[in-house]
Structures are given as C-alpha cells and as structure tokens.
C-alpha cells in the first residue's frame, strides 16, 4: 500500500472513532513522549535542545511500531526557545539538570493575590507588563534594549520550532503515512490560573479568601482559551485540541468548589470550541469518576474522554454512545509487567469496552523512559489481534 493510501486509511480509522463510529479496527494512539528518546538511544538533553534529534526519535518509533496516529515529538517544547528569553520557570537537562533528566516546571506564585484586579481588567496587558517580566530574565525590564532583543529572539525561536513541527508532521505523513493525533492545545481556565499563574497553594487559598476574584478570572480566561485552542490548531477542525486537565481531578476540590470554580468555565471553553467545529481531547489525568455525570452534560461528541485512573466501566456507562473513550493500559503494567500480561489486559479492555466502536487504545498516562519496548509491541500486537471489527 502506498503511503498516501495508508495515511488515508489510518486517518479514517481514527476520525471515525473520534466521531463515535465503528472503524475497521480500534485505532492505536500512544502518548509515548520521553519513551521515544530512550528507545532511539538519544539523551534527553539532545531531545530538548536539538529539534532534528527530537524528530528523529519519532522516525525510529514509526519505523518499528504499527500505530494509527502520532502525538508529536518526545519534547513538548524546544529548550533553546526558553533559553533565548531566560525562562525562570523551566529547568532542562544539560542546563540545570543532568543530561538524562526529564524537564521540570518550577511552580510558584508568579501571579500574586494583589494582581487579580489588573489581570481581570486586562489580562493581555497584565501578562505583558507584569507576568512575562517576572518569569523571564531577559525580559525583566520591558522597553529596555535587552528586553526588546528578547522579544525578537523569542519570536524567532517560536517560528523556528513551530516551523520544524509543521515540517515534521508533513514528513511523517509523506514518508510513514502517519497522521497526527491532535491539532492545537487548550486548558481549563481554572488550570491556567492554578497551574501557571497562582500555583496550587495560591489558588487553594484564593478559593476561601477571594472566591469572587477566582470566578471573575476564570470567566475572563474562557474567550482566551477558546481562541488559544483555535489559534494553535491553525483553524483545523478535523482533529481534537489536546487539553491536559489537572486540578479538577478527584480529590483536589470539594464537590461545591468543583461545580462552582472548575466546571462552568471549562464547559464554556469546550462548548465554545465545539461551536467552531473543534473537538477537545479531554485528557483527564488522575481520577474523574465522581464528575462523569457532569461531563455528560457536554454536547454529543464535543469531547473524546481519556481515561487514566477514572473507572473505565463507569465512564463507559455514563459517557458511552455519546462520546469516544480512550485509554487505559496502566503505565506500571507497561513498565513492570510482562508482554503476556499486557496482551491479557488489552484483550479484556477491548472485549469489555470497544465492541461497539468509539474507542481508542492508549496508555493510561503519558509514558516515560521506564516503559519497556517489548510491552509496547505486545500492546500493539494485542490491539490488532483483538481490536479488528
């Protein structure tokens, strides 16, 4: 089969499942991430800093494993781009960390409690004038020669990395017949606020001390996060936007907090993108079992619900038929299990949850260097053996 034909076959298989249909086979989508570097024998330092090696690691995987879509490169971002602007909130292998250490995000209260009013009044202005200077050494004094240069370097680096990603996507399509699994990225407004602006301690204290500000800030972020999802996907509506979900996982928030602060703005972002034809990959990290009924309020097929530690049987019972599900081969099984055990798990998973379509097989969480290659091979072999309709 030609690569173009192969691409079309895989793309149809994947998008049929996304829309709730029953393709010829259960699509295989694996969040291989840093495992790809380990498998290709490339250090993490090289993966983070060398865009060509970051892409070469994927090539090695695509040459050796039969999958239907690929999520992108092992590194989420190019470390050089962050170095160019002196990002203080990230640490990379080869700079602050040993050469084979996973990158680290340094969580802090980069936005202070006193910043809420300015943020709510004009988020872009506040981000440009207060937030960016705080988190980037090179941009510490906006308007200075050094800061102006940082803007130019940062923009150039962003264009370089985005360009490299686009070229890589075209290369995987042409040379491996491999489609991408996602287009674009967005977040829950509460996570935007809680992950990168206020930090966990900050946001949790805010829920008690300044709940109105939290609510106003998440409302302000709705339009931004819809736009961000559409902008980062370049307007594509054939593939879902990736949305990693964090602080809404059980048991971070109490039910009242979840209903009040987490869900309404997240729902608004998902519905806003859906109105523009954009589906969301609801990447529910951790356990979301208590919230399934609420999630079921979303418009049919507006999300693909990814199962990590959520109860798969309950997810199927509550969301099945209206939403595609994905997941959930345990990461510890892929790291410490034997190929026979992986096959057994996949067989049972597909038998119990994939019979009527609208199912994508994946690991439960994002994979790292600890996963064994023979277990990935076993997962794929079993998915083909027991996942052909």
């Amino acid at each position: 089969m030609g690569k173009e034909e192969l691409f079309q076959e895989r793309f149809n298989r994947y998008t049929t499942a996304l829309k709730g249909g029953k393709p010829d086979k259960v699509p295989i989508r694996l969040q291989l991430s840093e495992f790809m570097a380990a498998y290709a024998g490339i250090t993490l330092q090289d993966i983070y800093y060398d865009l060509d090696k970051n892409i070469a690691a994927v090539d090695k995987i695509l040459a050796d494993f039969d999958m239907d879509v690929i999520g992108g490169t092992p590194s989420l971002w190019w470390a050089g781009q962050h170095d160019a602007v002196g990002a203080k909130y990230l640490k990379f292998a080869g700079r602050e960390l040993e050469e084979n250490r996973q990158f680290q995000y340094v969580e802090d209260e980069y936005m202070l409690a006193d910043d809420y009013d300015a943020f709510i009044a004009d988020p872009t202005k506040w981000i440009l004038e207060s937030y960016l200077p705080r988190i980037h050494e090179e941009f510490a004094e906006p308007g200075s020669y050094r800061a102006n240069l940082a803007l130019i370097k940062g923009t150039a680096a962003m264009m370089m990395s985005t360009g490299a990603s686009q070229q890589a996507g075209a290369h995987w399509a042409k040379d491996f017949g491999m489609p991408l699994s996602i287009a674009g990225f967005s977040k829950a407004p509460f996570d935007t606020l809680g992950d990168t602006l206020r930090g966990l301690k900050g946001i949790m204290m805010d829920l008690r001390k300044r709940p109105d500000k939290v609510l106003a800030a998440t409302e302000v972020l709705v339009a931004h996060n819809i736009f961000y999802g559409m902008a980062t996907s370049g307007g594509d509506t054939s593939l879902p936007a990736f949305m990693p979900l964090h602080r809404g996982s059980y048991p971070f928030l109490n039910p009242k907090q979840w209903d009040t602060f987490y869900w309404p703005s997240l729902k608004a972002v998902i519905e806003g993108m859906w109105k523009l034809g954009k589906q969301t990959l609801f990447y529910a990290e951790g356990n979301w079992t208590p919230y399934l009924e609420k999630i079921a309020e979303l418009p049919d097929h507006s999300i693909v619900f990814h199962v990590d530690q959520t109860d798969m049987a309950k997810a199927k019972a509550v969301l099945g038929g209206r939403f595609c599900l994905s997941g959930n081969v345990p990461n510890t099984l892929l790291a410490y299990g034997k190929p026979g055990e992986v096959k057994e798990y996949v067989k049972r998973l597909l038998n119990d949850y994939a019979a009527d379509g609208a199912f994508i097989i994946d690991s439960a969480g994002v994979m790292q260097a600890d996963v064994k290659a023979e277990n990935i091979a076993a997962l794929i072999e079993a998915a083909r053996e027991f996942g052909t309709y």
Binding site: E34, N254, L333, Q368
Partner: protein, 217 residues
C-alpha cells in the same frame, strides 16, 4: 464530623485562618505554654485528616490547613526553642532524586505531624546519601519516599538498595500517583500508600506493632 471543644483546635478544623493566628497570639501573650498550643493545633489537624479520610474534606482543604499551620508555627517557633517536644517517633521523608513534585509529600508530612510524629522532611530531589545520613542521625525506623514521574521509579529502587546496603533496618513506604503494588514490588519497598491517610495508618501500624522491624504489607 467531630466538633472540637478547644477553640483553637476547632478553628484549625474549620480552616479559620485569621482566628487561628489571633488565638495563637493571645494564648502566647497570656502565658500558656507553647507546647500546649502546639497540642491544640495538632488536635485540629488530626480532625482535618479524619475529615479527609471520611470524604468530608478534599485536597483543597488539606492544602489550606497546611498553609494555616505554617503561619501558626512561624509565630510559635521562636517560643519553642529548648522545649522538650514529645513525639511518637521519627520518620524520614523526601521526594526521590530527579523528581521535584512535592504536593503529595507535603500533605503526608502535614498529616504525620498532626498525628504526633517527628517528621524529618528532606524536601525534593533527594539522593540516597541524604536519606542514609538522616536515617542514621535520627534512628528513624521508617522512611517515606514520594515519586510522581514514573521515570524516577528506577532511581527510587536504587535509593532503597543503597539504604539496605548501608545496613539500615528501616521500613520503606512509597507513594505517588502512579505507585501501586507492581511498583512496590519492583523497587522492593515494604509498603505503598494510595493517599495521605493510608500513609498515616501504615505509620501507626509500624509504630504500635512492629516497631523498627521491616516486614511486608
């Protein structure tokens, strides 16, 4: 949910941050022994831990309680110098080398302190040498290790091997989102805990029954 008689203990349990600081200050001023005030704070934290276990409280409440306790202890600490604090035993804890995630660890530390243990918190990115040094110095019979990044589980295994090779007879308990029976067996830990209240239960079991001897869960 239990209602606590002491006003300060109750204020902690109800997460009334301003009231807690006010009560700590007025009690210090009125000459109440700082250790007695710590006892009341611990009662409040124990109640918070129980409410978490029963599902009345969530992580948001535990994080808030941790922040309130931190502020209260900052007021109390200058007054505690030289005071002979009673505790149920020492526990060494840290996030293993390569990993910097400490939300889970901090909550476990808080609940263990609330339960009356002397917790030696080594922080994040902790190598084997630091664990061994702290264990030798404190003679703690239990060490807790936290890991979120699955790629750091291999490092956790090595740390445990080094602790055993150093001849330390301590029980090892591990925790983290992706920690389960398979990880416990792989890294050769003695126990694993799915959440903070399980960790406290296991600690209680170790300190009341098999003090100091490592055995499997």
């Amino acid at each position: 949910m239990a209602t606590l008689i002491d006003e300060l203990a109750s204020a902690i349990a109800e997460l009334e941050d301003e009231k807690v600081l006010e009560l700590v200050t007025t009690r210090l001023d009125s000459g109440i022994a700082p250790l007695a005030i710590v006892d009341n704070l611990q009662q409040g934290m124990t109640e918070v831990g129980m409410r978490f276990e029963s599902g009345d409280y969530f992580l948001s409440e535990l994080v808030m309680c941790g922040e309130i306790m931190k502020d209260a202890m900052a007021v109390l600490e200058p007054h505690l110098a030289g005071a002979d604090q009673q505790h149920r035993g020492s526990i060494v804890i840290g996030t293993v080398k390569g990993d910097v995630h400490d939300l889970g660890k901090n909550i476990v530390v808080m609940l263990l302190k609330g339960a009356g243990y002397n917790v030696i918190d080594l922080g994040i990115d902790v190598p084997a040498e630091k664990f061994i040094e702290a264990l030798k110095e404190s003679q703690a019979p239990l060490v807790g290790m936290s890991v979120l990044l699955t790629a750091c589980q291999e490092g956790m295994k090595e740390i445990i091997e080094e602790i055993r090779a150093a001849g330390l007879k301590v029980a090892v308990i591990i925790g983290g989102n992706y920690v389960d029976e398979a990880v416990k067996n792989y890294v050769k830990a003695d126990y694993f805990a799915h959440n903070a209240s399980d960790a406290v239960k296991i600690a209680d079991e170790i300190f009341t029954t098999a003090r100091g001897s490592a055995h499997s869960a």
